[in-house]
């Protein structure tokens, strides 16, 4: 018997009049997980969330909650609660009545539902505003009401559709912490849709990266950051340079990849590769050092400094190289100021062979919904 908050998505496809929003998605979210679905707008993450919530029915495939097939179970009867992007609070009801709404339609008595709504409002520190209407609340307060309204039915799965996108930067960071605290207190499954990568990294036990209706990679954020599956994932998560080249030779547990400009990268691999195969690899930008010249060393790339940006804790140095993508180095602040570089200077970026990560997936999109 599966735990109650476990979500299993089996080969789910959703089409809207000829447009495939979600394509053959398989996904397993363990109970009690904080899962973030991440991707550019139009990648299908919201559609997938809405199918789990029961607001859309898959064109094919199955969705199981706690081991029970709920593919066609109506929303509100499957143990999920959805927090809407713009909260969708009922404008004609007080805060307390908003929170108590699901209890009212379930036939709970007035005194009982008032009591339960107040208890939930206390939990989100809004009990003193229970008689206000939503129009009188700030964005942050509305968000808490929406949260309380979703949680009042004791759902096994809480689904959050871009819950922080309507808040300003300061509130976003505060609510982020609060969401995480609430999730660990309640111990239920949270599925949180977002398009901002720092939000996902900060919150999630499991990040699901989507693109064009498919799941690119689903893993712990650290795993995704360290071992991105494809050029798309590496670019979308950020902090990585993506390099392309051709396999020239095999050396112990590594392959030698040569780019068109003749730079050699030794990439650790588990299985064999055909010579001449085209491959992509990623290098973390904070694992790269800048030298005047590295001679003929492997795992180095020469380029012209195109811009320098001071970022407080580090300095972002951009290089123009023979590679398609801009090559960025996040240089330690003290390293940079020991030998500052100016735009137009030619330098060599070097890194350790162990930092090379082979990108097995083929998805090479930029992660930018427009610039493709």
């Amino acid at each position: 018997m599966s735990a109650k908050g476990e979500i299993r998505v089996e080969n789910v496809t959703k089409e809207f009049g000829g447009v495939t929003a979600v394509k053959n998605v398989d996904l397993m979210i363990e109970t009690g997980t904080y899962c973030c679905m991440l991707g550019p707008s139009g990648c299908g993450k919201t559609t997938l969330l809405r199918m789990i919530a029961g607001h859309e029915t898959p064109s094919s495939g199955r969705i199981l909650l706690g081991g029970k097939d709920v593919t066609t179970t109506p929303t509100g009867k499957r143990g999920t609660a959805l927090m809407f992007q713009n909260y969708a609070l009922f404008p004609h009801l007080s805060v307390a009545d908003n929170v108590a709404f699901s209890l009212k339609v379930a036939g709970v008595g007035a005194a009982d539902r008032r009591e339960r709504a107040m208890a939930m409002l206390k939990r989100v520190q809004l009990a003193h505003l229970s008689d206000r209407v939503p129009a009188q609340l700030s964005g942050g307060q509305q968000q808490r009401v929406a949260l309380a309204r979703a949680l009042v039915t004791n759902p096994q799965v809480l689904l959050l559709d871009e819950p922080l996108s309507a808040l300003d930067e300061f509130l976003r960071l505060r609510m982020r912490t609060e969401l995480k605290r609430l999730q660990s207190e309640l111990g239920i499954t949270f599925v949180h849709v977002t398009h901002t990568q720092p939000e996902a990294i900060a919150l999630a036990d499991q990040v699901v990266i989507m693109d064009h209706g498919t799941v690119e990679q689903a893993a712990h954020p650290r795993e995704i950051y360290d071992r991105p599956h494809s050029p798309y994932v590496a670019r979308f998560m950020g902090g990585q340079n993506v390099l392309f080249g051709t396999v020239e030779a095999r050396r112990n547990d590594a392959i030698v990849v040569v780019d068109p400009a003749g730079n050699r990268f030794t990439v650790p691999v588990l299985s064999g590769f055909n010579n001449r195969a085209q491959v992509a690899l990623a290098v973390r930008r904070d694992a790269i050092r800048i030298r005047d010249d590295a001679g003929d060393a492997d795992n180095a790339i020469r380029g012209e400094v195109s811009s320098v940006e001071y970022q407080g804790t580090f300095v972002k140095v951009a290089l123009r190289t023979a590679q398609k993508d801009e090559f960025l180095v996040y240089q330690n602040e003290s390293d940079y100021f020991a030998q500052p570089r100016a735009a137009g200077e030619f330098v060599t970026a070097v890194w350790d062979a162990r930092r090379n990560v082979l990108l097995a997936g083929a998805n090479n999109s930029s992660g930018d919904p427009i610039g493709e």
Partner: protein
């Protein structure tokens, strides 16, 4: 007074003069009718006033010169009441239906607009003719009500569209997510949020029906509505009683409108109350 000392241009005075003339044109006749309805018993249909009294108001009730004025008034009120309720109910559901594109929604919409464009008198004539053709008797609450609805429904629907443009479908989704049934969503969420707008729709249904003349002319059968009765009186009655009717009907319309707006603002205030 202008403290800035800036001189106003000639165009300001020209436009201000035009505006005043417009206001005078709009309200002076109404005010004149209102004042003249309090004409003394010996007074005529024009100024000057010969004493002030409520004689012509009581004359309306007591005298038999005016035909079935009371009956016409109650018929008009009942007709307007039926139009109000039907317009509000039908436009509410029609507006909700038009949120989605259903097969033939475009055609239905243009048919609705068509009944707004067709000349009322022509429609009235057509309805009268059709009832005769079918061998059905004309009756103010059957053919009359139908004719009025052909006028109030398109207006009501257009207002409903405006009302719905500020309605967020996510509210209904949120209710469904909370486990509400279709009937509960309609009753607790959709209807309640749209209610102030629905009052506006109903109000239009009332006023458009209450003073409708062309569409009533050939569809009411044996008994008349108030506008037709008054129109008939203008050619036969030559006393200020005519003005008294004008004052009374205007007062009633005003009371309905003020009541509706008061209702809307009470609901608004309740929703924004601290």
């Amino acid at each position: 007074m202008q403290s800035s000392g800036r001189k106003r241009r000639a165009s300001f005075y020209l436009l201000a003069g035009f505006f005043c003339a417009f206001v005078l044109f709009l309200y002076a006749p109404m005010i004149a009718v209102f004042v003249l309805s309090f004409q003394g018993p010996a007074g005529g249909m024009t100024f000057p006033l010969r004493g002030a009294s409520t004689y012509w108001f009581s004359d309306l009730v007591t005298s038999s010169r005016y035909g079935d004025l009371g009956g016409a008034f109650w018929r008009s009120l009942a007709l307007a009441g039926a139009s109000t309720v039907l317009t509000a109910v039908i436009c509410f559901f029609a507006g909700l239906a038009f949120r989605r594109r259903f097969p033939g929604s475009g055609i239905v919409f243009y048919l609705v607009i068509l009944s707004l464009v067709v000349p009322g008198l022509l429609l009235s004539f057509g309805i009268g003719e059709m009832f005769q053709l079918l061998g059905l008797p004309l009756h103010w609450l059957v053919s009359g009500l139908g004719a009025h609805l052909s006028w109030t429904l398109p207006f009501g629907l257009l207002i409903m569209f405006a009302v719905l443009s500020r309605f967020d479908g996510a509210w209904e989704e949120a209710a469904r997510d909370a486990g509400a049934s279709a009937a509960q969503i309609l009753l607790y969420v959709t209807l309640q949020i749209l209610f102030p707008g629905l009052i506006a729709v109903a109000l239009f249904g009332f006023t458009l029906s209450y003073d409708e003349f062309p569409r009533s002319l050939l569809t009411l059968g044996a008994s008349n509505s108030l506008p037709i009765e008054i129109a008939n009186m203008t050619s036969s009655v030559t006393t200020p009683a005519l003005y008294a009717i004008g004052s009374l009907t205007t007062a009633l319309s005003l009371a309905v409108i003020v009541g509706a707006f008061a209702g809307i603002s009470v609901i608004r205030r309740h929703r924004e109350a601290s």
